[in-house]
């Protein structure tokens, strides 16, 4: 046997043995397409350096497609995914179904007590942490300081709906395509109904009473919808019934909105490089009516492990890396503190560098002002601020959203829209067995 042949055989054996020793576990992570998730995919070298035996395959999908794919896989115990990106709406439902693995045994350096209490509460089912928050958000008022100054008004940090309406009126100049207020109008449980459900909380309304009877025939809902339609009709942009988050973001960035009440994550967009009004934006808490509840929501995109995953140890290692305090420091070191995923950890908001970001304080105050376990003035049998954490809510929320969107488009009156909502929700809840 020649020397070179021996060397070749030796090298082959070495590679084979190394391969066995370094056997990789591949985990599949399903996620939505947003800036923070894409940023994480670009920082995977850090994870691989710390976990050389784990390989991550990404599946990035549109939010609703992701929801459908993952629901099918979990419900059939398919085991195709090892880590899921899920919202605050799914966690209590899927956790109760036994579809998610508990994350109670994450390593000590994960520091579970550092999670923001409101966010942690929304991700805990029967005392078990079922998902780890990747980023959290609430909603708040983003307003144009220059237009408020020009109108001789000052926005308080915690405005009422009366103040908001007066400010909207003062900032509206339709001849210049300048609209006092921009709000979601596009139908959908995660679109206009996220806003309107949160807004209704501040008016004392609720989706259901303690016996699951729909409450759209109550005066609180009428007051909510009348206020919403009045401010949007008189001071809102044309075609608002087609506007969701992205459409309003564009309008605000183009300087066409005096105020925009929406997700706190929008703060970095309206003050970012694509915004023509980046240096003129102020922030305030979502408005209230003096009833003890504000019209702000609570949401978190979180990472969870389906109970059907066969690679739970590797999945936990990934979640620990992606949602740990060290990850926030990693993002800050590479991209600056303004790009750190917000709204998950107390320590982030006690960091002086992060606290100096203009929207940091208002974001944490907004998150702290939301309580998913007691979302409304009156008692309710459900969990969730801008949603009702029951499986039927996606369909119900979208159907009711279509009625309210039609009212915004001028196709229905307030009374007609509320009556239709009451009828359809009553039918569905009766059929689903909630109403005996």
């Amino acid at each position: 046997m020649t020397v070179s042949l021996r060397a070749l055989l030796g090298a082959t054996a070495f590679v084979a043995l190394t391969g066995v020793a370094m056997a990789e576990t591949t985990i599949t992570v399903a996620t939505v397409n947003n800036g923070d998730m894409i940023r994480m995919q670009g920082l995977m070298d850090d994870f691989y350096a710390k976990n050389p035996d784990i390989k991550v395959e990404w599946v990035t999908l549109e939010e609703n497609v992701l929801r459908q794919n993952v629901t099918t896989d979990i419900a059939t115990n398919g085991g195709q995914y090892d880590v899921l990106t899920i919202g605050t709406y799914e966690v209590p439902i899927w956790g109760k179904q036994g579809w998610l693995a508990s994350l109670n045994d994450l390593p000590a350096d994960y520091d579970v007590d550092d999670l923001l209490p409101a966010i942690r509460g929304g991700l805990t089912v029967d005392g078990n942490l079922m998902a780890s928050p990747f980023y959290g958000e609430s909603s708040m008022v983003m307003y144009r300081k220059d237009l408020m100054d020009a109108a001789g008004l000052t926005m308080s940090d915690a405005p009422t709906w009366t103040e908001i309406e007066a400010a909207a009126k003062a900032m509206t100049d339709k001849s210049k395509e300048q609209y006092g207020i921009c709000l979601r109008g596009k139908a959908g449980w995660g679109e206009n109904m996220a806003f309107l459900t949160a807004m209704s909380n501040s008016f004392g309304a609720r989706w259901f009473d303690e016996a699951w009877v729909p409450q759209f025939d109550q005066p609180e809902w009428k007051a909510t919808l009348e206020t919403y339609l009045r401010v949007m009709t008189e001071y809102g942009p044309p075609g608002a019934s087609n506007n969701g988050f992205n459409e309003n973001l564009t309008l605000f960035q183009q300087g066409k909105c005096g105020m925009w009440i929406d997700a706190t994550v929008a703060a970095s967009f309206v003050t970012g490089k694509d915004s023509t009004v980046a240096d003129k934006v102020g922030f305030a808490l979502a408005p209230d009516n003096g009833l003890g509840k504000r019209g702000n929501w609570l949401w978190a995109w979180s990472l969870a492990i389906p109970a059907s995953s066969q690679k739970q140890d590797a999945a936990k290692a990934f979640i620990n890396w992606a949602t740990n305090k060290d990850y926030l420091a990693l993002v800050a070191s590479k991209e600056g503190w303004a790009n750190v995923p917000p709204g998950t950890r107390t320590s982030l908001y006690s960091n002086p560098e992060y606290a100096s970001i203009p929207f940091a304080k208002m974001t944490i105050d907004s998150i702290n002002a939301a309580d998913p376990n007691a979302p409304t003035v009156k008692p309710v049998p459900y969990v969730g601020v801008q949603f009702v954490a029951i499986p039927e809510f996606q369909g119900l929320g979208t159907s009711v959203g279509q009625e309210f969107s039609a009212a915004l488009a001028g196709q229905k009156s307030v009374d007609e829209a509320l009556a239709a909502a009451q009828a359809l929700v009553t039918d569905e809840m009766t059929a689903a067995g909630y109403i005996k």
């Binding site: 599949t28 939505v32 397409n33 947003n34 800036g35 894409i38 995919q41 395959e57 599946v59 990035t60 999908l61 549109e62 939010e63 497609v65 459908q68 794919n69 099918t72 896989d73 419900a75 059939t76 115990n77 398919g78 085991g79 195709q80 995914y81 995660g190 988050f245 992205n246 459409e247 973001l249 564009t250 309008l251 960035q253 183009q254 997700a263 994550v265 929008a266 967009f269 694509d274």
Partner: protein
């Protein structure tokens, strides 16, 4: 006068044809144009048609985020595989229905077509469970099988229609010359129906290429085709239309180019036997 009327009518017909063609083509044109816009200009109001800051950045971003080639290869394999398997099953079926029809042939054809009327989501869970049990989830083989079954009624119907146009006497003559059934189908019927088969192949490739429900729901990473590639570029929060348009343009470009080069064959096949 007659000549004037004819010319005028021809002009009107041409104008109508161009109008319809432009209406059909406009969404594709708009997608392509949007793919070259910066994100902020992609959602500008009023919309900017040509006077925007042309950029290739969206294509750069899309390619940095995803491995286009892997999705493309899967789309090619799934589209060609399901078409080939569909033809192997459909040619004998269409032959028997066209040349040896039974009492229930028409009913059978209608029943086959009626299976296309059922919403696919109605059988998602049973098929998902079946695929899981057979180990076919996220495999190209699984998708080839499911897309073949989805498109089989259309292939059989199209081939049946083309075969009906071929005189049965020619096949009889072949039989009298000693042709076996296999030879009759392979060497007599198939060559005569080439235009029809070609258009069936083209149409089936297009249907399989564009199929989004099963290809998205039954794949994860290994077998994911371009439909799944596009789906990942929609975003709930933040601007994404320009990048989504770039991804869509990259996904439809191969099938558009194929359609462009084979349009003669496609039209010839689709109008086969239409004028007697």
């Amino acid at each position: 006068m007659a000549r004037h009327v004819t010319t005028q009518r021809r002009a009107i017909n041409s104008a109508a044809a161009w109008t319809v063609a432009l209406m059909l083509f406009f969404p594709i044109l708009w997608t392509v144009l949007t793919s070259f816009k910066p994100e902020a200009q992609a959602v500008a109001s009023p919309p900017i048609f040509l006077g925007f800051d042309w950029t290739l950045q969206n294509y750069v971003d899309v390619n940095e985020q995803r491995d286009y080639f892997r999705y493309f290869v899967n789309s090619v394999i799934i589209a060609l595989g399901s078409t080939a398997l569909g033809l192997v099953l459909a040619i004998p079926a269409a032959w028997s229905m066209a040349f040896v029809p039974g009492r229930k042939t028409k009913d059978l054809l209608m029943w086959m077509l009626s299976t296309k009327m059922m919403p696919a989501v109605g059988v998602l869970v049973p098929i998902y469970l079946l695929f899981k049990t057979l180990g076919l989830l996220d495999t190209r083989v699984g998708l080839v099988v499911v897309l073949t079954l989805m498109n089989l009624p259309i292939i059989v119907w199209m081939l049946y229609t083309y075969f009906k146009e071929i005189p049965g006497e020619i096949l009889e003559a072949a039989r009298m010359d000693g042709a076996t059934l296999k030879s009759e189908i392979l060497y007599v019927l198939t060559p005569m129906a080439v235009p029809g088969i070609a258009s069936t192949v083209l149409l089936n490739i297009i249907l399989a290429w564009n199929e989004a429900f099963w290809t998205i729901n039954l794949t994860v990473t290994d077998a994911a085709p371009l439909t799944k590639f596009i789906s990942g570029f929609s975003s709930p929060q933040g601007l994404f239309y320009a990048k989504l348009s770039a991804a869509s343009t990259m996904a439809i470009a191969p099938i558009l180019i194929m359609g462009w080069f084979s349009q003669k064959q496609l039209v010839r096949g689709l109008t086969f036997g239409a004028v007697k």
